[in-house]
Amino acid sequence: MRILVIDDDDQMRTLLRQVMEWTGYEVVEAGDGREGMHKHRKQPVDLVITDLIMPEQEGLETISALRKDSPGIKIIAISGGGRIGPEAYLLTAQELGADRVFSKPFDVRELAETVKELLGHE
């Protein structure tokens, strides 16, 4: 199973990669939505974890594009909020087709459990 992690923050990406690799998945990293979409199209992934506030292609746009491209793909959206508050983004992300939403800071174990559940692993 392959997981795509999209986040513009290096530390965040490294963290998510390690958690996912230790949980037993192969991880592809991308610094923004455009790069993520590109990598997914070249070699499709099963699940995407994407941050919502990023430069270049916005997270929300990435979610709707992913959903259009690959209806079966699992998507987890993460938002840290900011001047507009995380709730609005997360609600929108869910409407656009994210399977689960996480608000920072979150527990990495919980994230790992959610990924396992979405990908049908025990």
């Binding site: 840290g80 609005a88 608000s103």
Partner: protein, 652 residues
Amino acid sequence: MSETQVLVVDNSPVMRRILSYVLEAEGCRVHMAADGLEALDCIARSRPDIVFTDLIMPKIDGEKLSYIIRNTPELMDVFLVVLSGVALEDNDVTQRIGADVFIAKGPVAAMKTHIQAALERFRTNQRGGSGIIQGLEGLYPREVTSELLVSKRHSEVILERMTEGVIELNDEGRIVMANDAAIALFAQPEERVLGRYLAPLLPPPASGQIEAWLGQLGDPACFVPLVFSYDEPIVVGARQVTFNLVPVAEDETFFIIGILRDVSQRKSLEQRQRQLEKELQHIRKLEAMSLVASGISHDFNNLLTVVSGNIEMARYVNHDERVNRMLDEAVKALNLTVQLIRQFTTFADTYLPQKSQVLLHALIEDVLSQALSLSGISYHLACSDEDLAITVDPNLVRQVFANLARNAADAMGGAGRIEVSVDRVDGGEETARTGQSVPDGELVRIIFSDTGPGIAPDILDRVFDPYFSTKEKGAQKGMGLGLTIVHSIVKKHGGTVWIETPPAGGCTVTLYFPLHEATAADSLAPKGLGRRILVMDDEEMMRFVNKKMFEYFGCTVTLATTGEEAVDLYRRHLAAGTRFDLTLLDLWVIRGMGGLAAARAITDLDPEAVLVAISGDGGSEAMQNFDDHHFAAALTKPFSVAAVEEIIDRFL
């Protein structure tokens, strides 16, 4: 048969002598008084069987004296004979005064006959005036007297209608005249006020000050007014009253005029104003915090995720117990930090409350049982109606009671009791009862009290301030945000809250939430329900966020990416009869038509269109002079829920 006791009241010594001569010859015991005030003193010493009184006298006149006699239970059946020198001119006198006999003053011989007749009527117990004035024969009305009487009445009417209380005191400080407004201020019937000393009618320290002042009036150097000014009013019952006492010299002696003004209303208005200002100051502080909170929370959340994630992983790979214990401590501190950041985001004006119908009793019970489960503190929850439901964000309202419970538990130091009562009240009545500014309408009132040491009065005003804490500070002990958050959450729900330390001890927090009856239509905040909004922005994120915010208020939102698309949508909706109530246009669009051109095109289509300019650059010429470009308002991105609400209030 015992002697008949008669009181003769007349300011003319000649008349007094005539009357006493006739009455004593008839076997009566006669007492005499020169005016109404003296008469009252005589009556107080020994109750007469008959009172013969003149009408026009200084100090308390015959009419007032009669009124007092007829309205004092123990004097009511005194046989009252009025002798009037102006009987012919004062034609409704018999209607005004409930006398048993009226006699017009005239020739002595005639008067003597009528006095004897009156005595005979008393002896044969013929009471109740016939309305006939005895002794009018041979008298003729005098025009000058009529005119003087009219003028006297006129002055009396003016005095009675004044909103200020006016009283007259004699040189001993006794009340000889009081108008309606003054009587109302003393909150006693007129017959209980007239003739009384002023000082004992008032509470200390005013009473003492008046007595001391009266005592010095004999000294010409001290013949000056006594003033209870607006800043030091007298408290009479629930009212605050300014009081000016002015001595006026007259012949060899003096009298005193007193002017009373009820300033309670003005005082309470001023108090309310001060309270509002305090609230406003508080809101400003919160606004500043909210700005900081939303600004830093995003960065903090990112950093905290990385820190906690790495600690989790370190625990996963590490097998050294000592290191794991250290990591556990780090996680504890981290969790507190996370909580703190969460609390901060509550202040953010962009926070959208997730409202639903909440059973208040169950929610409070749940929070208290959790918060106090391991403490030595008992609680009791009394609810007028266990099914009482209000529309609130349950997570926020839980925070309110959790914070209150934590504060109370800390204050009581591990042993004590919390009492919570919940009931329904009317906002207007609560404002009147408490003097606090409580919102109008039907409310839920929650009174939360503990048996702790309470809060010192001098810091009560500050307990809602951010980072004000009576507790020892530190991440473990609380940061002084508990009550600030309580205040912020209650305000977010349109309620109000205050804290007091009752004389009986402990600390009492009173909270009010608007009561929304459990109706399905009453969801969220449907201010803009059914209104159509068009939002044009080329940033997808902004489009979605704006959509969410307007939808929160019940609006139907249509999105456009460019000016061309917005103009096209506007045209189609206009033609279809589903015109947009409000159109938001982004001024700077990277690809395609921008907001300025779109505004021109839409105004050409529909001169009545309501357009709002949006831009990330609030300082630009077009944003500053938005009305020159067909816009009704301008909003700088990113904008808050409050800004959206304001736009809805203004235009929808």
